[in-house]
Subunit: 313 residues, 2 copies
């Protein structure tokens, strides 16, 4: 196979041995693999893959066709279209994934959208529902809503019957975010005037969270997923006590195999049907051939985009 390889902080396109699937794993011919902010952090040397995954091949999500399965696999077989969050190694022509982490790709879904679906929708689903317990009728703030997790979070919250307020920095992205189901799209810094918020999906970090805190409702749940804008906040615990609010944080990548299987099961049950029926969509802003990963990463870094940058085979 060929793979994107990180060496000396740069990306190379190199030949490697095909992975051999373990007993419960699928070997997948990759058709599309989305980029995520964490890929850039890994390229810079700060976010190593967890144990058991390729150390130098990036890529935390992919979609493709099953070409071989381990002897204990029961859920999928050769020829099946699957997509998954993986611990690494997705940006290659072949990749492996535990069958409990794989999701069936809806028949109608093009490969680039399938390749950009797993990471951001799993992250947003887990944060909004498993961690924050979002339910219909509540008011949710999605901070930094034009990115991958943001566009997923806005849609998931909207289809669940929540009132969605989204912050989007670039004015020319706001109409697109509104079209995804956000009831109000505002500039960062204006969010406090549009509260109160029962749930906050924080994708920017410290300054944004600090701006949202005065506007949370009693019993609010804030979940921090992204801290690109800074990670340290000066927090007055009184503000949490008076509102009976809580702040949590999360990453998917560090979780155990079993925990990741639980997330995938939740997404399969509660999100895939909406993707298959067209009520949810995966905005893709650009695709690049796998061999041109460096250009794709550069595009991702530019920002000013709605949705995913996806590598395609």
């Amino acid at each position: 196979m060929h793979a994107v390889v990180i060496r000396d902080g740069r990306l190379h396109w190199e030949e490697r041995d095909d992975p051999v699937p373990g007993d419960t794993e699928l070997l997948v011919e990759v058709k599309a693999a989305g980029l995520n902010g964490a890929d850039l952090v890994q390229r810079a040397g700060h976010y190593p893959a967890p144990p058991g995954w390729p150390t130098d091949i990036p890529g935390m999500e992919m979609a493709g066709e099953v070409v071989a399965v381990g002897r204990g696999v029961t859920l999928f077989g050769p020829g099946d279209r699957v997509m998954a969050v993986v611990g690494g190694g997705a940006q290659a022509t072949m990749a492996f994934v535990d069958e409990s982490h794989a999701l069936a790709v809806p028949a109608s879904l093009p490969w680039p959208e399938a390749g950009g679906f797993p990471e951001v929708f799993s992250t947003a689903y887990d944060a909004l529902f498993t961690q924050a317990g979002l339910a219909s009728g509540e008011r949710v703030l999605v901070s930094g809503a034009a990115g991958g997790v943001g566009t997923a979070g806005v849609q998931l919250a909207a289809v669940t019957g929540a009132h969605v307020v989204a912050t989007v920095r670039q004015p020319d992205r706001r109409a697109e975010v509104a079209a995804l189901g956000a009831n109000e799209v505002v500039a960062p810094g204006d969010e406090a005037a549009h509260g109160p918020y029962d749930v906050v999906l924080e994708l920017v970090g410290a300054p944004s969270l600090t701006a949202a805190l005065p506007a949370v409702a009693t019993g609010a749940r804030l979940v921090v997923i992204g801290v690109g804008g800074g990670s340290r906040i000066d927090l007055d615990l009184f503000s949490l006590m008076g509102k009976r609010a809580r702040i949590g944080g999360s990453t998917l990548r560090a979780r155990s195999r079993r925990e990741k299987a639980n997330v995938a099961a939740g997404v399969a049950r509660h999100v895939l049907p909406l993707l298959a029926s067209g009520r949810l969509r995966v905005p893709v802003c650009a695709t690049f051939p796998l061999a041109e990963a460096e250009a794709a990463y550069a595009r991702f870094t530019e920002g000013a985009k709605l949705g995913k940058v996806v590598l395609v085979a």
Copy 2:
């Protein structure tokens, strides 16, 4: 009736009109009323009673005998022994309480213990179970365990099958806290070495919470109830994300009537049976006559006590 009255930051013993119970309220002849840290804050002018409660008569918990009931009351009648968290006015010879907030006093329980039970056990119960979801087999840290909420929290966590680590500042209080069921009693500052903690019941505040944070387990729930030691922390959101941990805070007093009824129902169901059977106890360090509230507050302020200071009729 006679009541403790706050005026100019001091406590006076004065005659007042008896309260008239509303439709769903009980009029109670107070036998005992526990002191809480918030009483001192209220005396200093910083923690006004919520709407509908006496503005100048302190006291957030009491036990006594029902002497009259509103026309809509169905659960209690004259002569019943009750105890309750109230929004204020408990430190008087007569007080009122909504019947949905009242708990039956177990037959075996002396009045001083009944008067010191509601606030701290309701607070600890709500924080540990409703908010933090503590369950058997987990490891819990109770920071500042020798006080009222601490002694309640240590006992509740221990009877639930958790492993309890307690911090206690005064060395001569540690054996008493261990006798309440703490598996390990350590000095503040040493808690990080005794983790990891699935749940943290934070009763001291910022410095203590900061010391505990590096020792929390994956999926930890931290609940801040007391901030006497400081309320502002410098929080690195990365530390929450990596551990998938969350920090919440809470107070009982500001809650709605319905929310308080829910807390009382939980305490009645899950805590009262253990109090009646003797598996939980209310440590009382000192009692003072109601008319000597100033001396009682002074004793409370001194610290170096295990359990409650209670005013008695």
